[in-house]
């Protein structure tokens, strides 16, 4: 029967490194999520058409294309 327990100091060192990278990635995830929440709730200019044509978002130079629904 084989034994899968780590048998080398290398495993311990790699655990520390992997844990560090994991925590760094988690921190990045938290920052990006928090930034997203802040920017969306503050209404930063990032709106899209959202299934319905919004005349105010169409280019100004071609107002003829805008028709009331």
């Amino acid at each position: 029967m084989s034994d899968f327990r780590p048998a080398h100091e290398m495993h311990v060192r790699r655990f520390g490194r992997n844990l560090g990278v994991g925590l760094a990635l988690l921190a990045l995830l938290v920052i990006v999520f928090a930034l997203t929440v802040v920017k969306v709730t503050r209404g930063d200019p990032m709106q899209a058409y959202d299934h319905q044509v919004r005349p105010e978002m169409l280019p100004l130079e071609d107002p003829a294309k805008v028709k009331a629904p």
């Binding site: 060192r13 520390g16 844990l19 560090g20 920052i31 990006v32 928090a34 930034l35 802040v38």
Partner: protein, 310 residues
């Protein structure tokens, strides 16, 4: 014959070794000055945006530190102060440092652009290129003015912090830049005076090596004289106030006295007391920067209560 192989000679870097590549002590100064630049700006920033921006500015500074360590690994290996850094000590391979530096530079600049604005991100990108290419690759080994021009890289963080809030540049942010820019040469030359054999061994053209120590003492004094009006001018702008002006006058007077004492000494006197004055001025220069920027921050903190500012 055996099938087993050992990998004992392969270096196994810990997470801490990679953190050391980012020069955490330099990062702490960057975080402080960038934070002051951001907080004293006349435009408020959402706390989450502020924290994220400062983190990405620090990450960019760290990335440029990793690129610097990759490029300077050969001279780091022969200098007493730097030979235990991760690359010369064999913990991290040069290619890893290059990869980490480039990757973190990209992440920091793109994330700062998304968190704040393109202008701040552009300034950060410029700072990284300035430190890694202009300072590390071109100037450091070419001219004794390396410290003067390279000091600009360390002077950008408060400007970037200000740009995060305002999206631009102003006289206040330029004066914060100038304050660190003019402060860097006397700070590092005081260090070079009592760390002499290190730069000699590495062949880095420090002023002490190329122009002699007497000339370095003169340079320290001249730059300290030029620094004083910058600090006082910054205290007269909207980020300053009576408190900053008093702090600035006291700090500059103290720094000038120290620089004058360095100018008056020769090597015999310095050797006799083991460079006590030079070491004291070097330590004071750190306090100078911390208190000067601390005064800007205090003005901004006191303003809501009717104090602070002009």
């Amino acid at each position: 014959m055996t099938d087993s192989r050992t990998f004992d000679t392969v270096p196994e870097a810990s997470f801490g070794d990679y953190v050391q590549l980012l020069k955490p002590r330099v990062m702490s100064l960057v975080v402080f000055t960038a934070l002051v630049g951001l907080l004293v700006a006349p435009v408020g920033v959402h706390p989450v945006v502020a924290v994220a921006s400062i983190l990405f500015i620090a990450l960019g500074a760290g990335a440029s530190g990793a690129l610097n360590m990759w490029w300077d690994a050969d001279i780091d290996a022969v200098m007493k102060r730097t030979k235990s850094r991760p690359i010369p000590s064999g913990q991290v391979l040069p290619g890893e440092a290059l990869g980490l530096g480039l990757a973190l530079s990209g992440i920091a600049v793109v994330m700062l652009a998304l968190a704040s604005n393109l202008f701040a991100a552009g300034l950060l990108a410029f700072t990284i290129v300035f430190y890694a290419v202009v300072y590390s690759m071109w100037l450091k080994r070419a001219t004794p003015q390396n410290i003067v021009i390279g000091g600009a890289a360390g002077a950008f963080p408060p400007m970037i912090g200000w740009a995060v809030a305002t999206g631009g540049v102003s006289i206040e942010s330029l004066l914060m830049f100038a304050l660190i820019f003019m402060w860097t040469p006397p700070h590092f030359w005081a260090l070079a005076l009592f760390m002499k054999e290190d730069y000699h061994t590495a062949g880095v053209p420090m002023l002490t090596v190329t122009h002699g120590r007497k000339s370095t003492r003169r340079h320290i004094f001249v730059y300290t004289v030029l620094l004083a009006p910058v600090g006082i001018a910054a205290a007269m702008t909207s980020i300053g106030g009576p408190l900053t002006l008093m702090v600035s006058l006291a700090l500059n007077a103290w720094f000038l006295i120290g620089a004058w004492r360095i100018l008056q000494r020769d090597e015999v006197a310095a050797e006799a007391d083991k460079y006590a004055v030079e070491k004291a001025v070097f330590r004071f220069s750190l306090l100078y920067l911390f208190l000067h920027f601390g005064a800007f921050l205090a003005e901004a903190a006191l303003r809501p209560y009717g104090f602070g500012g002009w």
